[in-house]
């Protein structure tokens, strides 16, 4: 059995989760601080992957990063970066696709903290950033872990978006979910079953881990 699709999937999910921790946390914090029409629009845009067919997202990413025109052409010419049919392209698509799984739970956890916590910190002379770093963030740890695990698990389960922008290149873009589809296409059901079982087992363990960490309380994936 070729295990490279499994490794590629884990690598993709790991990198996506790390990137989303770096991008998603400050982003959730920014959305949490005050309301404006602009923020509502931005939040709606990053929430779209939850409801949009993944193939639609993949299709637009494919168009946007096609080396023939627009941003894709510019990236190719200036930096020699190609997002279409490459691993970096998968990472980019995954970050966009899983963004609501990181930003949503973190933002709603921040909203549920009593506002007096931040106020107390401000009266001690602390900036908004110090307050976020030392008071708010440490007190939403369970939600943070839930968000990270769900982001990871959600990336494992990607199919449409990955297929559209990455295709099915062995060792480069053929992740486990695509290997399942590919095996079925070749009528190799044993192989499809192998990949499926592994994906099932990993995802199941992750979800169990979240529930155990949250003291057996089944929490909604979205917060």
């Amino acid at each position: 059995m070729d295990v490279s699709p499994i490794w590629l999937t884990l690598k993709l999910a790991g990198i996506t989760t790390l990137l989303l921790l770096v991008i998603g946390l400050p982003f959730a914090w920014w959305l949490f601080r005050g309301r404006s029409f602009f923020k509502i629009v931005v939040e709606a845009i990053i929430t779209m992957p939850l409801v949009l067919p993944p193939s639609v997202l993949g299709f637009y990413l494919l168009l946007a990063f096609s080396p023939q025109h627009g941003i894709g052409k510019w990236l190719q010419q200036e930096f020699d970066i190609q997002f279409v049919f490459s691993f970096p392209g998968l990472v980019l698509a995954s970050v966009i696709y899983s963004m609501p799984f990181m930003v949503g739970p973190v933002k709603s956890a921040l909203q549920q903290l009593p506002s007096a916590l931040a106020e107390a910190s401000y009266t001690l002379g602390k900036t908004e950033w110090q307050t976020f770093r030392y008071v708010l963030l440490p007190n939403i740890k369970p939600s943070l872990l839930t968000a990270a695990v769900l982001t990871f698990a959600h990336t494992l389960g990607e199919f449409g978006v990955v297929l559209m922008i990455g295709g099915n290149i062995p060792g480069v873009t053929r992740v486990a979910s695509i290997a399942v589809y590919d095996s079925v296409e070749r009528q190799d059901y044993d192989m499809a079953n192998n990949y499926s079982l592994i994906l099932f087992a990993i995802t199941f363990v992750l979800v169990i881990a979240v529930f155990v960490f949250n003291k057996y309380q089944a929490k909604s994936p979205l917060g």
Binding site: A116, L117, E119, Y122, G125, T127, V135
Partner: protein, 205 residues
């Protein structure tokens, strides 16, 4: 000298009310803020701390303008150096007793003194969830004092303390306020709770 002349709309459940305060407070004085629930006592403290903005008026503390609606001056809460004791304590669940004070100040001697004052020295490694209601309240008071504030705003600060603890703590705080030359506002529900401690009364009807 602290001069406060403000107007702030309050959204009470039986309609809108207006909070109006127009008064001067001597530096170093202790003022009791007294009145029924929902008249804006907590709102008043938050306005002074810079956590809420009034619609009109000005706040001037020792000749420094903290707030002036007409001149659009609003000194942020971080720059006002007030100490705030929240009614619900607002302790940080992730920090131990000692970490609460270390978050506010680097002055190790001062931290030790505060821990002794609040009788929390034996519990300095405990997080708030392991403290009793009275201990939590004392920690909230110590944290507010940690930055040596010139203006201390206390919202029902003694409600969870028994009589003996309250009397002892008040006596120690009185001496400390003198030493720090702190001006203090204390919100209280009870007419005689702070007799002997406060110099002035600000009554909200």
């Amino acid at each position: 000298m602290i001069t406060i002349a403000i107007e702030k709309k309050l959204n009470a459940y039986h309609g809108q009310q207006l909070l109006q305060v127009n008064r001067q407070f001597e530096s170093g004085s202790i003022t009791k803020i007294y009145g029924p629930s929902g008249v804006g006592k907590t709102t008043f403290l938050k306005v002074v701390a810079g956590l809420l903005m009034p619609e009109k008026g000005s706040i001037v503390v020792d000749s420094v303008t903290w707030f002036n609606a007409d001149a659009k001056i609003n000194l942020p809460a971080q720059k006002r150096n007030t100490g705030f004791v929240f009614q619900q304590y607002a302790l940080f669940p992730n920090m131990t007793v000692r970490q609460h004070l270390e978050y506010a100040t680097d002055d190790e001697l001062w931290i030790k003194r505060l821990l002794l004052l609040g009788k929390l020295d034996a519990l300095e490694q405990c997080k708030p969830e392991y403290l009793s209601g009275g201990q939590q309240q004392r920690l909230a008071i110590l944290r507010a004092l940690a930055t040596k504030p010139k203006l201390l705003l206390m919202d029902e600060p003694f409600s969870a303390l028994d009589y003996k603890m309250k009397t002892e703590l008040i006596a120690e705080l009185q001496a400390l306020f003198k030493e720090l030359d702190t001006t203090t506002f204390i919100v209280s529900h009870y007419p005689h709770e702070l007799d002997g401690l406060t110099d002035e009364v600000l009554s909200f009807e």
